[in-house]
C-alpha cells in the first residue's frame, strides 16, 4: 500500500509538472499579417508610458487567429515589459467555433478561456478618404465596437475581412486601427503570403498535491463566460492597487504554489514566475480594449 501511494504521488507530481496541453490545427493560413500594438497608459508612478507588443494575424478564409508574437526580436515572453503589454491584449480565434470568438487570456495565476458570439461591426465607410500604407491604397472606416470608437484603414487590394484583435468585417484587410481616445493602436508591420498551421491550444486542468497548499484546489486553466470574465478582469486589473501591487489578490505565491521560478529580464531585472505565469512586481495602469 505504501509503495502504491508513492507511485501515485510520483505520477500525480509528473502530471502537475507537465501541464498537459493539446493542440489542434484548425486551418492553414492564406497569409500572415503582423501588427505593432501600442497602448498609451501610465506606470505605477503615474508617468506616461507606451506598452508595445507585436501581434501575428494568421488568416484562412472565415477563420483567423491573432496572437502576441513572442518570437520576434525584442519580445521576450519572460520580460516584464512584454508581460505589461500582454495584459491589454488576448489571443483571439475569430470564427472558431463557427460564428464565435474564442479568447485565451492570462490573469495571474491562471489562463482563462472565454467564448462569445461574433457580432457584426457596423462600419461607416468614408470611401473618398484614402491614404497609402505600405504601398496599399487604403480607405478609412469608423465604427463603435465594445464601447469604443475605432477608426480603421483597410485595403480592398487584400480581399479579407480580417483584422487585428477582434476588429474585422471590412471589405478588405485592416492595416491600421486606432481608438478615438488615442489609447490603443494597431499598425501593420509585415505581410507574408505563407501557409502556416493555425493552431488552437487546448489547456487541461491540472492537479498537483505535493507542492504548495494552493495547488490542491487550483486549476491552471479556467473557462469563463466572456461577459463574466470581462467584469472579473476589470475588477482585478482596474483596482487602484494593481499598478503598485499587481499580485495583491494572490499575494503569497510561494506558499500557494510551492515554488517560484526566477528569470533574467530586461536590463538585468529578475522576473518571477509561478504556475508558469509571470508575476509582475510593478504593472501599468490597465486600459481595457472592451468597455462593454
Amino acid at each position: 500500500m505504501k509503495k502504491l501511494n508513492v507511485i501515485l504521488a510520483l505520477l500525480l507530481s509528473v502530471t502537475a509538472q507537465a501541464q498537459p496541453q493539446e493542440k489542434d490545427t484548425l486551418a492553414v493560413s492564406d497569409f500572415i499579417a503582423t501588427y505593432i500594438y501600442q497602448c498609451h497608459t501610465l506606470d505605477a508612478d503615474g508617468k506616461d508610458v507606451t506598452d508595445s507588443i507585436q501581434l501575428s494575424l494568421q488568416v484562412s478564409g472565415n477563420l483567423w487567429k491573432c496572437s502576441p508574437d513572442d518570437k520576434s526580436e525584442g519580445m521576450i515572453a519572460n520580460d516584464q515589459a512584454y508581460q505589461e503589454a500582454l495584459m491589454h491584449v488576448p489571443t483571439v480565434w475569430m470564427g472558431y467555433p463557427e460564428g464565435s470568438i474564442t479568447c485565451h487570456e492570462t490573469l495571474f495565476p491562471y489562463i482563462y478561456e472565454t467564448q462569445e458570439v461574433r457580432q457584426p461591426i457596423l462600419w461607416d465607410i468614408a470611401s473618398t478618404d484614402t491614404l497609402t500604407i505600405e504601398g496599399y491604397l487604403c480607405h478609412r472606416a469608423t465604427a463603435t465596437y465594445k464601447g469604443k470608437t475605432w477608426v480603421a484603414c483597410y485595403t480592398e487590394d487584400i480581399p479579407s475581412s480580417a483584422g487585428p484583435w477582434k476588429l474585422s468585417g471590412l471589405p478588405g484587410l485592416i492595416l491600421r486601427a486606432e481608438d478615438r481616445e488615442g489609447i490603443h493602436s494597431f499598425m501593420l508591420n509585415g505581410l507574408l503570403q505563407e501557409q502556416q498551421p493555425i493552431v488552437f491550444q487546448h489547456y487541461r486542468s491540472a492537479l498537483a498535491f505535493n507542492q504548495g497548499t494552493f495547488t490542491r484546489q487550483r486549476f491552471d486553466f479556467q473557462k469563463m463566460e466572456h461577459s463574466k470574465f470581462l467584469k472579473f478582469k476589470k475588477k482585478i486589473l482596474g483596482n487602484k492597487l494593481y499598478p503598485q501591487h499587481p499580485n495583491f489578490y494572490a499575494p503569497n505565491a510561494l506558499g500557494a504554489f510551492g515554488s517560484v521560478e526566477y528569470w533574467q529580464g530586461t536590463g538585468g531585472r529578475t522576473i518571477q514566475r509561478a504556475n508558469g505565469v509571470v508575476m509582475l512586481d510593478k504593472a501599468h495602469v490597465y486600459q481595457p480594449l472592451e468597455l462593454k
Binding site: D45, K47, V49, Q54, E73, L192
Partner: protein, 913 residues
C-alpha cells in the same frame, strides 16, 4: 392632416423604392460554397454596400442609395479570381449567384521589420540593425548612430549628455567602467538590441527612490551566445611614416580577443600590443573613474606632460595590454566578478610653449636685469606691471606599467543588496621632460612607484517598510618613492617625496518610510584617515660638471634610497608631516513626494564635526552643509530638476607643507601653513525632454556657483622661475553657465542632427607677488552635427564648432576664438566597400591679431567580407606637422604649438573568430 399623411406616404414609398436587396450564393467550380468572399456593390468610385459570404457561401446585402451611372457587384476572395457584374438598383430584390474560378491573388508582401525603437516604460529598446550604416564594424560604431546617444573619442558613452552609470551585457555587468573592451571588440552585427534604461536603479532596494541615472544593456544575437567568439587584429605600416627623429617609423599592431556569453557566465579576454595611435591602450580606460592611480605624493609632483591638442594625432605611443574578465551568476540574484588587467604605456610628443606671466615692474635697474634674465621679450602692459614671456621646447617621454585586480561580489534582491569590491593596483612610472629654453637645456627626470589596496562594502536591507544601509570603504595608498631630479645651467638638484594614506569611511543609514509621501533618512558616518607625507628638496650641486656628470647625478638620484635616509646637510627644504582626521557626521534628510509621485523634494542637513591633527597644527570645527533638490516629472519624457547646496570644506595636510617643493625645473610651490577653509554655494536647474518615438531629445540647463576660500594662491615670477605660494586672505570666485543640447534622428533618411550651445561667465582672484588681481572670464561655444545618408551608397557627416573666450583683468582684455569644421564622406561603390575621407579645418586665434589656419586630411578604405575586415588608413595626408592654440588662465596666457604625427599609411585586418 390629410396633406401630411399623403406626404408621408409619398416619402415612404420613395424610400422603399430606393432600397435594393441583393442576395445569392457563391460557389466554386466543384459547386462547393465559398465562404469569406467579400461582396461589394460599387459605383464608379464608391462602395455602396458590402458583406461577406458565410460558410454556406450565401450572402445578403441591402443598397440604400441609388447613384447615377453604372453600378457593379464585385466578388473578391484571396484564393479566387475577382468577378464583377453590372447590377441595376431598381429597388426590387435580386438574386445574384456567382461561380468563382480558383486563382490565388499574389499579395504585395511587406517585409516584417523590427521596430527601430520601442519604449517600454523607462527602457528604450533600439533595434541596432535599423540604425547601422554600411561601414559600421564594431558595436561602438553602431552606438554613435542612436538618437540621444553620444560616444566620446575616449569611448565614454552618454545619453542626453549624462554619462551612463552601468554597461550591461545580457543583464550582467562584466566590465564595470572598462566597457571599451566590449564596445570596441564586439562586432555590431552580433548585437540585436541596445537598451537605454532611464531612471536606472543599480540596487533593487532603491527602486522606490527617484533616480536620474542612465544605464545601457546590450542584447546579443543567438550566434553570439553559448559559443565562444572573438576577433584577431593585425596591422602594419607598409611604408615608413614621416615621423620625427627618435620616433617609431615602422608601426604595427597585433591583438587577440576572445569572448563567451552564456546565461550564467560571461568572459572577455584580450591581449594586444602595438605602436599605432592608442591601440591597446584605450581598451582599458575606466569610464567610471579609477583608470589611473593618484596618491598624495604623485598629486603634488605631477609628471612632465605638456597637455594635448584638441585635434590631430600627436602622440608617439607603444602600448601593450592583457586583460581577463569573468562574471559568474551564483544564483538568480548574485554574481561574482573578477577583472585582472595589465597595461604598459609609453608615449612621447613634441611641444613648444610660450607662457606669458604678469609680473610687477622691477623697481631698480639691478632688479630689472635679474628679472629679465632668462625670460624673453618682456613687454610693458598695465601701469606698474610687465608681461614676462617664457618660451620652451620639450619632448616629454613617459612610460608606465599598471597591473590591477578587482574582485567583486554582488547580490541584488528587492529585500537585500550586498556588494563588495576588492581592488589592488600598482603603478610604476618613469618620466623624462628635458626642456630647451634660451639655448639652454634643462633636464628633468621623474620616477615613482605607487600602490593601492581598497575594499568597498555596501549593504542594504528592507526591514518592514523601512530600509537600512551600511557602507564601509577602506583605502590604502602608498608611494614609497617619488624622485625628481633637475639639471639646469650646470646646477643640479633633486626633489624626493613619499606618502602613505589610509582612508576609512563607514556609513550607516536608516530610511524611515513614515507615510506613502514622506520618508526620513537618518545617515550617520565616520571618516577616519591617517596621512603621512615627506618631501625633501636637495641643494644644487656645484656647477662645474660635465654633461656626463649631470647625467650620472640624475641617474643616482633616481635610484637613491628614500629621502629620510639622506643626511640633513644635503637637505635644503624638508617637509615631514603625519596626522589623522576624524569626521563624524549626521545627515538627516527629508524626502517628500506627492500622491501621483511626480513631484519629489529632498531636504538634507548634514552636520559634521571635523577633527584634524597634523603635527603641531590642529583644527576642530562643526559644519552644516544644507542642500535641497526638487524634481517634477511632467511625463515619462519630460522632467524638470532643480538643486541648491551650500558646502563648507577644509583643506588637508598638503596646506601645511611650508618648505618649498620643486615641481619642475623652474617651478616651486609652497603652501600657506594654514589649513584652508572654503565655502561653496551651487545651484542648478535642468529640463530634459525626450520624445524617443519621435527620436527627439532636448536638454536645457543653467547653473551658478559662488565660492570663498580663506587662502589665495600667489604667483611670483623671477626670470623664468615661477613660484607659487598661498596668502592667508579671503578670496572669492563665481561662475554662471547656461547650456543647451538637442538631437533629432530621421530614420527614413538615416539622418542624425545635433546642436549644442554653452555660455558661461564668472570671476576669480589671483595674486602676483602678493598683489591681488581680480579677473573675469566669459565665453560661449556652439556646435552642430549632421549625419545623413541621402542615397544608399553615400553617407555624409559634418561637424562645426565655434568657441569664443574672453579673459580680462584690470584694463586688459584677451580674446581668442576658434572655428572648426569637420567633415566625413563615406562612399559605398559596393555594399562591402567603404571609401571615406575626413577633413578638419581649424581657424584658431593665436594672439590678438594672429590667426592660424590648419587643415587635417585623412582617408581610408574598408572592405568587409563575412568574417574579415580589411582597412587601409591614410592619416595626415597633407603632412601637417603643427597644431597651435592659446588659452588664458586668469592672468596668464599659454600658447601651445604641438608637433603632430606625420603622414602615415596603415593596413589593418580584423578577423572574426
Amino acid at each position: 392632416m390629410r396633406f401630411i399623411l399623403t406626404l408621408l406616404t409619398v416619402v415612404a414609398s420613395l424610400s422603399a423604392r430606393t432600397q435594393t436587396t441583393i442576395s445569392g450564393t457563391v460557389t466554386n467550380l466543384q459547386h462547393q460554397p465559398v465562404g469569406d468572399v467579400i461582396v461589394r456593390v460599387t459605383d464608379e468610385k464608391h462602395t455602396l454596400a458590402f458583406c461577406t459570404t458565410d460558410a454556406k457561401g450565401t450572402y445578403r446585402l441591402m443598397v440604400k442609395d441609388t447613384p447615377q451611372g453604372e453600378t457593379f457587384i464585385r466578388f473578391a476572395h484571396i484564393s479566387y479570381e475577382v468577378e464583377q457584374e453590372k447590377v441595376s438598383l431598381d429597388g426590387k430584390p435580386q438574386v445574384k449567384d456567382m461561380l468563382l474560378v480558383p486563382k490565388t491573388i499574389t499579395l504585395k508582401e511587406v517585409k516584417v521589420r523590427a521596430v527601430p525603437l520601442t519604449q517600454m516604460g523607462d527602457t528604450l529598446n533600439h533595434n541596432l540593425a535599423s540604425f547601422l550604416g554600411k561601414g559600421d564594424v564594431s558595436l561602438e560604431d553602431g552606438l554613435k548612430r542612436l538618437p540621444g546617444v553620444e560616444v566620446a573619442k575616449s569611448g565614454a558613452i552618454s545619453y542626453m549628455g549624462k554619462p551612463i552609470s552601468a554597461f550591461n551585457i545580457e543583464g550582467l555587468n562584466l566590465l564595470g567602467g572598462k566597457y571599451n573592451l566590449a564596445t570596441r571588440n564586439i562586432p555590431a552585427d552580433y548585437v540585436t538590441q541596445v537598451q537605454v534604461i532611464r531612471n536606472y536603479h543599480e540596487r533593487k532596494v532603491d527602486e522606490d527612490k527617484p533616480s536620474d541615472a542612465v544605464a545601457m544593456n546590450i542584447k546579443l544575437a543567438k550566434k553570439a551566445k553559448m559559443k565562444p567568439f572573438g576577433q584577431e587584429e593585425a596591422g602594419f605600416t607598409p611604408v615608413p611614416s614621416s615621423s620625427g627623429e627618435g620616433h617609431d617609423h615602422w608601426q604595427g599592431i597585433l591583438g587577440l580577443t576572445g569572448m563567451l556569453f552564456t546565461e550564467d557566465f560571461q568572459t572577455i579576454c584580450s591581449g594586444k600590443l602595438g605602436n599605432y595611435k592608442d591601440y591597446a591602450n584605450s581598451d582599458l580606460t575606466d569610464h567610471l573613474g579609477g583608470s589611473g592611480l593618484s596618491t598624495r605624493a604623485t598629486s603634488l609632483f605631477g609628471g612632465f606632460d605638456g597637455g594635448r591638442p584638441p585635434q590631430g594625432e600627436y602622440l608617439y605611443q607603444r602600448n601593450a595590454m592583457g586583460t581577463v574578465n569573468g562574471i559568474q551568476k551564483v544564483d538568480s540574484i548574485s554574481t561574482f566578478r573578477v577583472n585582472a588587467d595589465y597595461s604598459y604605456h609609453r608615449a612621447t610628443h613634441d611641444i613648444a610653449t610660450a607662457t606669458t606671466y604678469l609680473s610687477p615692474l622691477p623697481t631698480s635697474p639691478q632688479e630689472n636685469e635679474s628679472h629679465l634674465d632668462g625670460a624673453s621679450s618682456p613687454s610693458l602692459g598695465t601701469e606698474g606691471w610687465s608681461r614676462v614671456m617664457v618660451s620652451e621646447q620639450t619632448s616629454p617621454l613617459s612610460s608606465s606599467h599598471l597591473p590591477s585586480l578587482q574582485v567583486n561580489y554582488r547580490s541584488n534582491a528587492r529585500q537585500q543588496y550586498v556588494w563588495d569590491m576588492l581592488t589592488m593596483k600598482a603603478k610604476f612610472e618613469h618620466n623624462e621632460g628635458d626642456v630647451h629654453y634660451n639655448n639652454v637645456w634643462a633636464e628633468q627626470r621623474r620616477k615613482t612607484t605607487s600602490l593601492e589596496v581598497a575594499n568597498s562594502l555596501n549593504f542594504s536591507r528592507r526591514v518592514g517598510g523601512h530600509t537600512v544601509h551600511f557602507n564601509s570603504d577602506v583605502h590604502f595608498q602608498r608611494t614609497p618613492s617619488l624622485c625628481l631630479s633637475f639639471a639646469d645651467s650646470g646646477e643640479e638638484w633633486s626633489q624626493t617625496a613619499q606618502s602613505t594614506s589610509l582612508t576609512t569611511e563607514h556609513r550607516t543609514s536608516f530610511d524611515l518610510h513614515l507615510t506613502k509621501k514622506f520618508t526620513l533618512n537618518l545617515p550617520v558616518s565616520l571618516t577616519a584617515n591617517y596621512d603621512f607625507i615627506e618631501t625633501i628638496l636637495c641643494a644644487a650641486t656645484p656647477s662645474q660638471q660635465s654633461q656626463q656628470q649631470q647625467q650620472n647625478f640624475i641617474e643616482t638620484t633616481l635610484c637613491a634610497a628614500i629621502p629620510s635616509q639622506q643626511s640633513p646637510q644635503q637637505q635644503d627644504a624638508h617637509n615631514r608631516l603625519q596626522g589623522t582626521t576624524f569626521i563624524p557626521s549626521f545627515s538627516p534628510g527629508f524626502e517628500w513626494r506627492n500622491a501621483n509621485r511626480r513631484l519629489y523634494t529632498l531636504l538634507s542637513f548634514p552636520f559634521s564635526f571635523r577633527l584634524m591633527h597634523y603635527g603641531s597644527t590642529s583644527l576642530s570645527k562643526f559644519y552644516l552643509n544644507p542642500s535641497a533638490s526638487l524634481s517634477y516629472t511632467f511625463s515619462a519624457n519630460s522632467k524638470l530638476s532643480a538643486s541648491s547646496s551650500l558646502r563648507y570644506g577644509t583643506g588637508d595636510m598638503l596646506d601645511l607643507l611650508t618648505a618649498p617643493m620643486q615641481t619642475s625645473y623652474r617651478s616651486t610651490r609652497t603652501a600657506s601653513g594654514v589649513i584652508g577653509e572654503s565655502r561653496n554655494w551651487a545651484s542648478s536647474l535642468d529640463w530634459k525632454l525626450q520624445v524617443p518615438l519621435q527620436y527627439f531629445t532636448l536638454n536645457l540647463g543653467a547653473s551658478h556657483s559662488e565660492g570663498k576660500r580663506n587662502t589665495l594662491t600667489s604667483q611670483s615670477v623671477s626670470g623664468v622661475d615661477v613660484s607659487t605660494s598661498s596668502l592667508f586672505r579671503d578670496t572669492h570666485s563665481r561662475t554662471t553657465s547656461f547650456s543647451l543640447s538637442s538631437s533629432k534622428n530621421i530614420p527614413s533618411l538615416f539622418a542624425k542632427f545635433g546642436i549644442k550651445g554653452n555660455y558661461s561667465f564668472g570671476s576669480g582672484e589671483q595674486a602676483v607677488n602678493g598683489n591681488v588681481i581680480q579677473h573675469h572670464h566669459q565665453g560661449y561655444s556652439l556646435s552642430g552635427h549632421v549625419g545623413i545618408t541621402p542615397v544608399s551608397w553615400l553617407e555624409m557627416n559634418y561637424d562645426i564648432d565655434y568657441n569664443w573666450q574672453r579673459s580680462s583683468y584690470e584694463d586688459t582684455r584677451n580674446t581668442v576664438t576658434s572655428l572648426t569644421h569637420s567633415g566625413a564622406l563615406h562612399v559605398f561603390p559596393i555594399s562591402s566597400l567603404d571609401i571615406s575621407v575626413n577633413y578638419d579645418h581649424v581657424r584658431r586665434q593665436i594672439t590678438t591679431d594672429r590667426y592660424k589656419h590648419m587643415s587635417l586630411f585623412n582617408a581610408s578604405a574598408q572592405y568587409k567580407l563575412k568574417r574579415l575586415v580589411l582597412r587601409l588608413e591614410l592619416d595626415n595626408l597633407l603632412n601637417q606637422r603643427h597644431y597651435a592654440y592659446t588659452v588664458f588662465d586668469g592672468i596668464n596666457t599659454y600658447s601651445y604649438d604641438y608637433g603632430l604625427c606625420g603622414r602615415t599609411t596603415f593596413i589593418k585586418a580584423t578577423f572574426k573568430l
